[in-house]
């Protein structure tokens, strides 16, 4: 999308918007730029020049106030505070001259045409909670003030331009204006990125100082800033006059809207032993239907019209392991959404997801920021995990044997990288800690259920099935702690009990980690009707 700065202007007509402002110059601020600022300077550039030595003008509100005051005519249009909707057509019909300091960039007609284009692009998005504006550098234009004999202007064109656009875009979307700079661009829902280019050779020439000034490196296209002020202050008046006449149609704008990556946090439980976290190919090459990632991501991707949705969780459990209790912390990363998540929408989605998914459930869905998602990655390493294992022993267990398990407290394991994962992980020997075990043999009744009331089986397995709740340091391979992994994890349940052990069933029953953060600054989204 391209626009020219003065496409709404007719040639060579003077308007009341750009006029002689020298009468407004306060005496005390005229000491440095004594050269004439007489005509064809827009309202905003006037303020930039007049209050050049007043550092408070760098604050948006102060600039705004001065612009208002310096507006001569009562109907003088002030974008920074008035309602634009009624004034647009009037302004369109009102011709302006091109300001020779900002080349029209800060003039109302430019801002309004750009705004129209932004609105068109923004109409694709719903429920935007916050917006930021960026703008490319316009160094060549910043030097115009020297060429025109005004000297250095501290308040840059780019700064004012961003104030104007950000205010208008925010008002259009009905969201709070972003205070100050775009340093937290990541935390905005949307970014309006505007590129300003000079596409006119004649104009380019008009922006460049003469070669004999020796302030511009023509091959690199850069100013030798150290020399600038000195050289420009010696420039002759005739030359200055030349630079004040600008050809029209020289400034080009491109507008691009980008949605920042959006994050939704939550916890999930999995109540099945045939459900993997990501799409899973069985040995025979058949894709197992359904996986945690799809169940949790697809509805969000659809609802928020995202190009992509990816799940990140604090660790993961194997396909045959259930995730119970308060669930596993995770977040979904949504790329290029067209609709931004609100708490209310997420509450509804949570209900919908859980209705359609008997095996996987999600809880506490809430919008989170990028920086908050770091907690999930950190939590993976730090936290304790609580497992419940059903163990089958080779010999029958006695109370004394069980007692050995139950007396375990802060037991350090030496664990070699399990064979199960050794193909893709480094071969290492790690020390991991079992914090506590609470075990008992299954009751006769429980054994009967587990054996589906097969009398012979019950007889064979009575006192050979043990349930153990194990609290371990995160990162402990718990399956290997139970079966020993060919004695590559020592001690293991087998060595403690003194009989070979195998794991029949494993559940993660608790994962102690605060997530999503309790004190989420809830985004006050206003859903815009467009």
């Amino acid at each position: 999308m391209e626009l020219t700065a003065d496409e709404t202007k007719s040639e060579d007509m003077k308007s009341d918007e750009t006029g002689d402002i020298s009468e407004n110059l306060p005496a005390e601020t005229t000491d440095k730029p004594t050269s004439p600022i007489s005509q064809n300077i827009c309202k905003r550039c006037s303020v930039r020049v007049i209050y050049n030595h007043d550092s408070t003008i760098q604050i948006k509100e102060n600039f705004e106030k001065q612009c208002k005051q310096s507006g001569n005519s009562p109907d003088s249009f002030n974008l920074l505070s008035d309602d634009t909707s009624t004034l647009t057509s009037e302004l369109r019909s009102r011709p302006e001259n091109t300001c020779y300091l900002c080349a029209g960039i800060l003039q109302d007609s430019t801002i309004l045409s750009l705004l129209d284009r932004c609105k068109e692009l923004l109409s694709e998005y719903e429920c935007v909670g916050s917006v930021g504006v960026t703008c490319s550098n316009v160094d060549l234009l910043n030097v115009r003030s020297y060429l025109c004999g005004v000297g250095r202007i501290n308040l840059q064109i780019k700064t004012v331009f961003k104030w104007l656009m950000a205010a208008e875009v925010a008002r259009f979307l009905g969201v709070p204006q972003v205070v100050n700079n775009a340093s937290k661009a990541d935390d905005q829902d949307l970014m309006v990125n505007i590129e300003i280019r000079i596409d006119n050779d004649e104009f380019m020439w008009m922006c460049r100082p003469p070669v004999n000034w020796d302030v511009y490196n023509y091959s690199q296209g850069k100013f030798k800033s150290a020399r600038l002020e000195d050289a420009l202050s010696r420039s002759k008046h005739e030359e200055i006059e030349k630079y004040k006449k600008l050809p029209g149609g020289a400034i080009q704008f491109s507008v691009a809207i980008a949605a920042n990556t959006t994050y939704v946090g939550g916890r999930y439980t999995k109540n099945a032993r045939d459900m993997s976290q990501t799409p899973w190919l069985k040995q025979d090459g058949i894709l197992i239907s359904g996986n945690v990632e799809d169940i949790l991501c697809k509805p969000l991707q659809k609802a928020f019209k995202a190009d992509e949705a990816r799940m990140h969780s604090a660790g993961r459990e194997d396909i045959d392991v259930r995730m119970l209790g308060s669930g596993r912390p995770y977040y979904v990363q949504l790329t290029n959404v067209r609709k931004f998540p609100t708490q209310a929408m997420l509450d509804e989605l949570q209900v919908e997801i859980n209705l359609n998914s008997p095996k996987v459930k999600c809880y506490k869905l809430t919008p989170v920021t990028k920086s908050q998602t770091e907690l999930v990655k950190l939590g993976q390493e730090e936290k304790q995990k609580e497992y419940r294992c059903i163990i089958k022993t080779e010999d029958r267990v006695t109370d004394e044997m069980i007692q050995k398990l139950n007396s375990v407290e802060n037991l350090d394991l030496v664990q070699k990288t399990p064979i199960r994962v050794l193909h893709r992980r480094s071969p290492l020997t790690r020390t991991k800690r079992i914090i506590k075990i609470n075990a008992r043999a299954l009751t006769r009744e429980e054994v009967e259920v587990a054996c589906k009331h097969d009398v012979d089986l019950v007889e064979s397995l009575n006192n050979r099935l043990v349930v153990a709740e194990v609290v371990s340091e995160a990162g402990t391979y718990i399956k290997e702690f139970v079966h020993g992994d060919f004695n590559r994890t020592v001690p293991n349940v087998g060595t403690i009990l003194g009989t070979r052990c195998d794991m029949l069933q494993l559940d993660v029953v608790n994962l102690s980690m605060l997530w999503p953060p309790e004190k989420v600054e809830l985004k006050e989204n206003v859903c815009q009707e467009t």
């Binding site: 193909h423 992980r425 071969p427 429980e446 259920v449 089986l457 060919f486 004695n487």
Partner: protein, 194 residues
């Protein structure tokens, strides 16, 4: 809390670890030494665990020593690996020597690698407790872990014997020596145990 409901879908009859996660193949008469039978268990992830076969003569003997120093210049237990790619591993072939097992009765057996690949690990416990190789031949008494090349993962087992092939081989071997009855007997014993 554990509920009865949690126990309903449990499979108490699941097979042994080896049967669940591994494909098991055998090498009969390794190094052309009769009875020197070995087992290769390939995990579903491709890694191969090298063991002796439960019918190996060693299993009924007392083991004195398991020596991984197979020549003056080569010690299989000298393993220096780095990173996920396991750089620095010894590369071995099916017929590469792996270790030498000496029994108290004076007999000794050379065991072989059985498959091509990187030698990731030998069972260091065998140095201090050599008897493990006999007593726990299909678990804690494993000998080594070998990682086949990625492109050979699917084919490293193809020249090895399945359980049926192995039994047939032993029957032929036994009938040649008129020992069929003995073998059958020991087989049925083994089946009863498992």
């Amino acid at each position: 809390m554990l509920t009865l409901e949690d126990l309903r879908d449990i499979n108490v009859q699941q097979g042994k670890l080896l049967d669940r996660y591994y494909n098991v193949r055998h090498v009969a008469d390794a190094g052309k030494v009769e009875g020197n039978d070995q087992t290769v268990a390939q995990h579903h992830n491709g890694l191969c665990v090298i063991m002796i076969h439960p019918s190996h003569p060693i299993c009924s003997k007392t083991v004195q020593n398991v020596d991984f120093k197979i020549s003056v210049n080569c010690d299989r237990s000298e393993i220096v690996l780095s990173g996920k790619k396991k750089r620095g591993a010894q590369f071995v072939n099916p017929n590469s020597k792996l270790c030498n097992v000496t029994c108290t009765d004076g007999t000794s057996y050379i065991l072989y690698c059985g498959v091509r690949g990187k030698l990731l690990e030998v069972n260091d416990n065998l140095k201090s407790s050599p008897q493990l190789i006999a007593q726990r031949c299909d678990s804690d008494g494993y000998i080594a872990i070998i990682q086949p090349k990625k492109e050979e993962e699917k084919t490293v087992l193809k020249d090895l014997l399945t359980e049926e092939d192995f039994i047939r081989h032993r029957q032929i071997r036994a009938s040649n020596k008129h020992e069929l009855d003995d073998i059958m007997e020991s087989d049925s014993k083994r089946l009863c145990q498992s």
